[in-house]
Symmetry: C2
């Protein structure tokens, strides 16, 4: 058949509204052109850009994104994974509640990329927590603060552990004192609770596990009659869209949310197409400190 007739056939096909049946194709090729993104909470602004990035990367590669929310429930995460597993060509796991070994198990069956967490043997994409926290500490140091209180996020969170350790190390080098309160839920309400805790032994500066907590903290301080940044400087983490809408606008470590999503999706696609995963090496994406109104020099 020559190229011209092929073209004509194609033309008639679209005219007739013919669409290849993806299920039939999938059945013989075992590839569905779909990837799954699993996350704990669609409501968390941190994920917006991640989801958008992943969807964009998928779209560009001709893939469709399937999104499932686990509502922070391990049981639901299993159920969701169970369902998606045989339907997709790869999985992006965000804020998973599962154990490392459970994740490795899944990774044996389908390509998996873990986001913001390191699981040995499974490729991952993470934020550069280390340098992010370092910049936060430097900023505070430059302003003249001498003591920092870290508002910890969820206990089991890999990212929380990294952030706290990074902050502590940076503080040590810069000769700042740090302490840690928590753990708290990584939400606005968690931040409010953290404010109460902080109130019992105040510091002139606070670094929160994430923006949501930082925002809650500011609110808590205000409820206690205090004022940010006059009474306490606060730094968040993520630079979610909330950060600049809040008053005072939040100084925060900007995580590369969009890139995180794009990179994760691309990598999972690459692996599913047979690329050799440089398994052990996590891809580390850079952060940057965004200084806004919530940090000033102490009195």
């Amino acid at each position: 058949m020559n190229a011209e007739t092929a073209e004509r056939i194609r033309a008639v096909a679209v005219e007739l509204g013919y669409r290849a049946n993806p299920q039939a194709r999938a059945l013989s090729t075992t590839r569905t052109s779909m990837i799954a993104v699993i996350l704990a909470d669609v409501t968390n602004p941190v994920f917006f850009e991640v989801v958008r990035g992943a969807e964009l990367a998928a779209y560009e590669a001709g893939y469709t994104m399937l999104l499932a929310e686990t509502q922070e429930s391990a049981e639901r995460e299993r159920a969701v994974l169970e369902r998606a597993l045989s339907t997709v060509d790869g999985i992006v796991l965000t804020s998973s509640r599962m154990s490392d070994s459970a994740i490795r198990q899944i990774a044996k069956v389908k390509p998996v990329i873990v986001l913001n967490r390191v699981v040995t043997g499974v490729p991952s994409v993470v934020t550069d927590n280390l340098r992010g926290m370092r910049r936060a500490a430097e900023h505070l140091g430059e302003l003249g603060h001498e003591q920092i209180c870290y508002l910890a996020g969820p206990e089991a969170s890999w990212a929380d552990g990294m952030r706290w350790r990074s902050l502590r190390e940076a503080a040590m080098e810069l000769e700042l004192r740090v302490r840690r309160v928590g753990p708290f839920a990584p939400t606005v309400n968690g931040g409010v609770a953290a404010a109460a805790e902080w109130g019992r032994q105040r510091t002139t500066a606070v670094v929160a596990y994430n923006d949501q907590m930082a925002i809650g903290f500011m609110r808590g301080v205000r409820a206690m009659g205090g004022q940010v940044p006059r009474d306490v400087s606060v730094i968040g983490f993520d630079n979610s869209n909330m950060a600049e809408l809040v008053t005072p606008a939040l100084t925060t470590v900007a995580a590369p949310l969009h890139s995180l999503g794009v990179t994760a999706a691309r990598n999972v696609l690459a692996i599913s197409r047979g690329a050799q995963a440089r398994a052990t090496e996590a891809v580390v994406l850079p952060t940057k400190l965004v200084v806004r109104e919530s940090t000033i020099a102490p009195e």
Copy 2:
């Protein structure tokens, strides 16, 4: 085969990690147990709860949700739909950019539910804009305002048309004066632009197309040296999670975001299972006015 052996087989099956292949099943049944949710902008807080509701309803019914973002591009919407169409059992269309007839076309091929828009012949689920706007007008009237400025959203938006008309009617009955400025983009920046426009002929009260615009408006007013609510009362629409985080906290008409998502998903599933769609009747979900700090009596 008796029930007992059936059970044993089942047991062995899970032990062996057997999973029915969904593609093969879909091929013979023509049902995939997936629904698609199409939206313009994952980043818009209005959709969080909608998406969550839809995902929840899907999950409970044993379905998986496929999410696609159109980035406000009609072309992308087509492409996305093209891809999803033969992969899902039903489609929830949110903030579609397509024409009514294009939507009807799709609805012929697969069950479709339209959200926050009425397309004759296609079942839809909408917010009760009428009573919502009426409550907003009443609230302002009770406070003693006599003139209201409506900050219009996107021109082509069905919801914008409804909201403006509803507000105007309510105002007329309550003997308030209203005018309309815009259209503006339904975003924070759109609201900032609206503030400039409003500044040329001020009113003591403003009702915005949505929360995002209301927030942008407040910011714009502040940038112009004004203060909310002292200089102008403002009411948003949606009660997205931003509304209570902003300072001053935003008075807003709460749209039933979660129910919208749940209802849409359930209905599309029902139709796909053969339920007779009460085609023409849109399901209208109730709103409620949430009074916070951004509205007070005029001076």
